[in-house]
């Protein structure tokens, strides 16, 4: 890459200036503000101007009160991420290997759901998972519901308004974020490698395991992050598809902030969530470099 130096030393700063300022004002400053709020206290329920006083107790309080939902959010998001990987990997792999000249179009298909409302797609799952829907009746008849009940994932004879439905909704909604990075990483692999492997190894599985999988790991990591992070903070799936024991931390923040007017509490929860995720991301970023997250 050629780089011009000299009189244009200022140019890059002029170029990044507005964008960086924008992100600074509307991303970094609010985060700082949120942090300040998380250390503030409301004197009473109808005190609308919480005072800043280095009050770390909010963190202990919200962790005590909403630790369950926090843990549940990571669990749900984790399971959904795993499910996305299991479903998304074959999709990306198949498109790369067998897509031929339709590759681009097939990848385009993965993005199509983005052109209908996320909310309406989630609401549509309430139709597909309704107690007497074809899908649920089939699952009931084949004993899948009975198995889920035995495992303890559902209580009754239904899917809607259960943790399973919420995890399913998360899996569905964030699947494209898994498939796309996987596709990008698989596409980079020279598939002739596979042929070569086919000659050397007896089984296709071991070729996959020893060659393709390791090479696609960056995609796996990037996809996992892009799925896991939005899933942990989501409240829409739990609202529409969940019941009384499947609320996530996003629902709590929404309730604390927008209904109960407990901004310090909501801020502390947000920050706690953010902190855990940031640590996880930094660890990943160390391993991969930020490039892989975004390509």
């Amino acid at each position: 890459m050629s780089t011009r130096v000299g009189g244009r030393r200022l140019t890059p700063y002029l170029l990044v200036g507005p964008g960086v300022a924008w992100l600074g004002v509307f991303f970094l400053v609010p985060l700082w503000n949120l942090f300040v709020m998380s250390l503030s206290t409301k004197r009473s329920r109808y005190d609308f101007d919480p005072a800043f006083r280095w009050d770390w107790s909010n963190y202990g309080d919200v962790f005590g009160a909403y630790g369950t939902q926090l843990g549940r959010s990571f669990l749900f998001a984790g399971v959904a991420t795993l499910a996305c990987l299991v479903i998304g990997y074959p999709m990306a792999y198949w498109v790369v290997v067998h897509g031929g000249r339709f590759r681009a179009a097939l990848v385009g298909l993965v993005i199509v759901p983005f052109f209908t409302s996320f909310l309406l797609r989630t609401i549509s799952w309430t139709v597909l998972l309704a107690d007497e829907s074809v899908i649920v009746r089939a699952l009931r008849a084949t004993g899948v519901l009975a198995v889920l009940r035995t495992v303890g994932w559902i209580d009754g004879d239904r899917l809607l308004d259960t943790p399973v439905a919420v995890v399913g909704g998360l899996t569905y909604n964030f699947l494209p974020f898994m498939v796309l990075p996987l596709y990008v990483s698989l596409e980079r692999i020279d598939l002739r490698l596979l042929d070569a492997c086919g000659d050397l190894y007896a089984s296709g599985w071991s070729a996959f395991r020893r060659v393709v999988l390791p090479l696609s790991l960056p995609g796996v990591f990037a996809g996992s992050l892009l799925t896991f992070i939005p899933a942990t903070g989501d409240f829409v799936n739990a609202y529409f598809l969940g019941g009384t024991s499947s609320r996530m931390i996003g629902n709590v923040v929404q309730d604390r902030f927008l209904v109960q007017l407990d901004q310090p509490g909501a801020a502390a929860i947000s920050f706690l969530l953010m902190a855990v995720i940031t640590v996880a991301v930094l660890v990943y970023a160390r391993v991969l470099g930020t490039e892989e997250l975004t390509s």
Binding site: F26, V95, F115, S124
Partner: protein, 268 residues
């Protein structure tokens, strides 16, 4: 995986994945032709064209869709301009702090929307800025900016920049070089990124929830709020229409880019 069984299993799994992706969309399209029995268009009754004949019957819904389109247009424009400039700087120049800028761009992607939403709401509250169309636009342009900068950056990497240098060496002034050489090379990536921004903004619920005032509703927020009393079939109709429209636009842009690619001097 080269074994025929393996191949079949992968094929089936992939097919399953695609079916999963499209199942709710099929529901949305189908239910745009449903004649609901009560207020909620959630149980299939019978086929009707009524909803499609009266797509704008719910005035608030139509207003919400128009509002969304307007916000998405403005947000992708802001994000498109600012993000492209950042991407150009990162790809074309090496400068102190570049890595930090990279990190700053990635951060919004690795922050849950609920955190960005609540922090922005707090900012606007503290500043005494009334939450409304403007705050929604600011918030949307913020998260779109990252997407644009990163997407455009990835696209710019694949461009042959020697052309630009050649133009300069031949004595073209910087602005002219930009207009005749740089700009045409950059445009397809920017357009794609702005389309992405547009759909991200159209679709945003969580952040919008926090930064909108009483009375403003974009499309998703309207659906969420009105779900307390109804789910009108017009919601399905307008969603389907938007889907068809955006697929059409996408197809057009692909065709346009293909044509550009064949004409572009960069791809001789």
């Amino acid at each position: 995986m080269t074994g025929s069984w393996g191949r079949r299993i992968v094929g089936l799994a992939a097919l399953g994945g695609f079916v999963l992706l499209f199942a709710p969309i099929v529901v949305i399209v189908a239910f745009s032709f449903n004649e609901p029995a009560g207020r909620y268009n959630l149980v299939w009754q019978r086929f009707t064209m009524e909803n499609w004949l009266h797509p704008f019957e719910r005035e608030e819904l139509t207003a919400a869709v128009l509002f969304s389109l307007r916000i998405a247009g403005a947000a992708s424009l802001v994000a498109g301009v600012l993000g492209t400039l950042v991407a150009l700087a990162l790809v074309r120049h090496r400068f102190r702090g570049g890595a930090l800028v990279d990190l700053l761009l990635v951060l919004p992607l690795t922050t849950p929307e609920i955190v960005m939403g609540s922090s922005l709401a707090l900012l606007f509250l503290d500043l005494g800025v009334d939450r409304g169309p403007l705050t929604i636009l600011l918030a949307h342009s913020m998260f779109c900016l990252s997407f644009v900068a990163l997407t455009v950056k990835a696209r710019l990497r694949g461009i042959d920049w020697t052309l630009e240098d050649a133009a300069m060496d031949l004595g073209a002034p910087p602005w002219r070089t930009f207009r005749t050489v740089t700009f045409p090379m950059v445009v397809p990536g920017v357009v794609a990124a702005m389309l992405l921004s547009f759909s991200l903004s159209m679709d945003d619920v969580i952040i919008t929830f926090f930064v909108s005032g009483d009375g403003d509703a974009n499309f998703p927020k309207y659906v969420y709020g009105s779900f307390q009393r109804e789910l009108a079939p017009q919601v399905h109709v307008l969603s389907t229409a938007l889907l068809v429209l955006s697929l059409g636009l996408l197809a057009l842009s692909v065709v346009w880019q293909r044509r550009r690619a064949t004409l572009s001097p960069g791809r001789v």
